[in-house]
């Protein structure tokens, strides 16, 4: 694989004896949409602030596009576009003037790109209105436009789905995936896991300041056993049959009943086949036997609750 665009190595931040972030490491490659997940207060924003040079790490190394943030911060930041926490802009200026303010800091090419990025985020019609009159969704889009002005290799978005309606979120998803297809690395933090699952291919999960899992979503989820849910006509009889099947293979597992009346247990494909024939033999009609893929949200709750780690 190519060189990582963003490489974070054993990052640590301490403020007056409190460790906000410790031993955080991960790599983000070109073309990846990388999700940075964790509950509120886990250290996501602190980590992002260190990546973009707003906060000085107590220990560890951050490299962006080959430049070390500690020793070469200006060169490193020229490779980055970012929104930290909220899309920040001057409400008393128009969208265009806001873009111009930042573009002028980054040179002539950025100034020439203003119309291009405005079109990219579909703001060209409202560009000359004051930002004060923008909705939160439009501010998010203007924020992304600001971040893209310098044609970055790495786009960092902190909670980008905040304030977006479902249509806006879907639009953002296709937009970011298109950007990633062109080779941009996108780094997204969020606590909304269902969004991230659809958006990202790789994730790092952070809790209490440390990264506890990192990798491709598919690989992470493949390691977990999957539940099978059964819809049958006689749940009580069926429960006994299922428990017998499990026990006969030496598995001590519980069969639980979901709120909708279907039975849920964990078993492999072979056992499912055996259970189906046994149920029929016992006169239970099977309407549905469905394997439920564990969602990132379930995985996240298992991982962050501590018990399952």
């Amino acid at each position: 694989m190519a060189q990582p665009v963003l490489s974070v190595r054993s990052l640590e931040k301490r403020v007056r004896n409190r460790t906000l972030v410790k031993d955080v490491s991960f790599d983000v490659y070109p073309g990846q949409v990388f999700g940075f997940l964790g509950p509120n207060g886990a250290g996501k924003t602190t980590t992002i602030r260190m990546i973009v040079g707003l906060i000085r790490p107590t220990a560890g190394e951050i490299t962006i596009g080959g430049y070390k943030v500690r020793t070469d911060p200006l060169r490193a930041m020229q490779e980055v576009g970012c929104i930290v926490e909220n899309p920040d802009m001057y409400p008393y200026l128009s969208g265009r003037e806001n873009l111009l303010q930042l573009a002028r800091m980054q040179g002539v090419e950025a100034v020439h790109r203003i119309d291009e990025v405005a079109k990219l985020v579909h703001l060209e019609d409202r560009l000359d209105d004051k930002v004060r009159t923008y909705s939160l969704g439009m501010r998010q889009r203007l924020g992304i436009a600001q971040a893209l002005l310098n044609n970055p290799k790495l786009l960092i978005l902190d909670e980008p789905t905040n304030g977006l309606d479902p249509a806006g979120i879907r639009e953002l998803r296709t937009f970011l995936q298109a950007l990633a297809k062109d080779g941009l690395a996108v780094f997204i933090s969020s606590h909304l896991l269902s969004e991230i699952e659809l958006l990202c291919d790789h994730v790092a999960i952070i809790r209490d300041g440390s990264v506890i899992k990192t990798g491709a979503i598919d690989t992470l989820l493949a390691g977990t056993a999957d539940d099978v849910s059964w819809r049958v006509d006689k749940p009580d009889a069926a429960r006994r049959v299922l428990e017998d099947v499990l026990r006969s293979h030496g598995i001590v597992a519980e069969v639980t009943e979901s709120t909708k009346g279907s039975l849920i247990c964990r078993m492999t494909d072979d056992l499912v086949a055996e259970a189906v024939s046994n149920l029929e033999a016992h006169g239970c009609k099977v309407f549905e036997a469905a394997r439920r893929r564990i969602s990132l949200e379930d995985f996240f709750l298992q991982t962050t609750s501590g018990a399952a780690v």
């Binding site: 403020v15 924003t45 602030r49 973009v52 040079g53 707003l54 906060i55 000085r56 200006l74 060169r75 490193a76 930041m77 020229q78 980055v80 970012c82 930290v84 926490e85 909220n86 920040d88 802009m89 001057y90 008393y92 200026l93 003037e97 303010q101 930042l102 002028r104 800091m105 980054q106 040179g107 600001q146 310098n150």
Partner: protein
């Protein structure tokens, strides 16, 4: 590139309308002051029963002489009275009309009086916002993640602030001329102004070095010194603005300091250490016309030095802190 940053800062300040509000207040104040002064002259003429300025000046001298014999007047007050007395006598004997009306005279008075409180207040209103507003608005994160060094960004803000103070002074000059001219007429740039009185602490006045300057030359000096004093105020407010997150508290701190300082100036003769405070040294133009300083032993060079040292220290602290600061939420 650097000037693009400076122009960004000036655009922001002008679009925020903070500068315009200051200008509007200035215009109203000028009109009120001019009107009040105009009325005062009419009342004076009615009381004296003549428009002859010799009569008025003679009355002032008599009044001052009486005050001088007041047993309750302190030595410092007496020195002040001696100075005005000497000036009046000099004017009378050289046939110079100190009350000659005209827009330039008004400008001169406005700057002399305004520099103690009013003009520094305007400077503080502008300067306190420079850095704090970016902190409280969150936009500082955008500024600092653009691949431009923090020192450069702060320097551009400082240069923009100094330019804005210069614009403020130009605006004061223009508005005070235009507005007061409507009351007093627009001539009078050539009128003589008396310079070179030297008042010692014990109240003796040395008139051996007295000379006159045309009004316009005196105005240039007054505005120049006022500008210099206000750059010192701007530097201090700029430091507070870098240290404090909210514009309101940064403005509050500076205003409290300024007002406490003007009160101190009145009391300072009893507390000599006060002469090392910047606010006590703002009235640089008083050294031009021989008004005794608030604390004995202060000289023009001393005041300049105090202002320069405070400003330099404030700017060093601003840049040091800003370059290292962690921008937390």
């Amino acid at each position: 590139m650097f000037w693009q940053l400076v122009s960004n800062e000036i655009v922001k300040m002008l679009r925020k309308r903070r500068f315009q509000v200051v200008m509007a207040i200035l215009l109203v104040l000028m009109a009120v002051f001019s009107y009040a002064e105009h009325e005062a002259i009419l009342v004076m003429v009615r009381q004296l029963g003549t428009t002859d300025w010799h009569v008025r000046l003679q009355q002032e001298i008599t009044h001052d002489l009486n005050r001088l014999h007041n047993p309750f007047a302190s030595a410092a007050e007496k020195a002040g009275i001696q100075a005005t007395l000497a000036e009046a006598q000099y004017e009378l004997s050289h046939n110079i009309n100190p009350y000659a009306p005209g827009a330039p005279s008004f400008m001169h008075t406005f700057m002399d009086e305004g520099i103690t409180l009013l003009i520094p207040l305007f400077v503080i209103v502008i300067a306190s916002d420079m850095v704090s507003s970016e902190m409280s608005g969150g936009t500082i994160k955008m500024l600092l993640t653009r691949g431009v060094s923090r020192t450069r960004i702060l320097a551009s803000k400082l240069v923009a602030l100094f330019l804005l103070v210069a614009m403020l002074f130009a605006a004061i000059a223009i508005t005070s001329y235009v507005v007061s001219g409507a009351f007093f007429g627009y001539g009078g740039f050539g009128l003589p102004v008396i310079m070179g009185f030297q008042t010692s602490a014990n109240g003796t006045v040395d008139i051996s070095h007295v000379y006159t300057l045309p009004q316009w030359e005196y105005l240039l000096m007054t505005f120049g010194l006022g500008f210099f004093a206000c750059l010192a105020v701007a530097s201090l407010a700029f430091m507070v603005s870098t240290l404090v997150r909210s514009t309101a508290s940064s403005m509050g701190i500076m205003m409290a300091g300024l007002i406490a300082g003007t009160l101190l100036t009145a009391l300072a003769s009893n507390w000599t250490l006060a002469k090392y405070l910047p606010v006590v040294n703002l009235q640089l133009m008083n050294y031009l016309n021989g008004t005794p300083p608030p604390v004995a032993g202060m000289t023009f060079a001393f005041s300049l030095g105090v202002l320069v040292i405070w400003s330099a220290a404030a700017l060093v602290i601003s840049f040091q802190v800003f370059a290292r600061k962690d921008i937390m939420g």
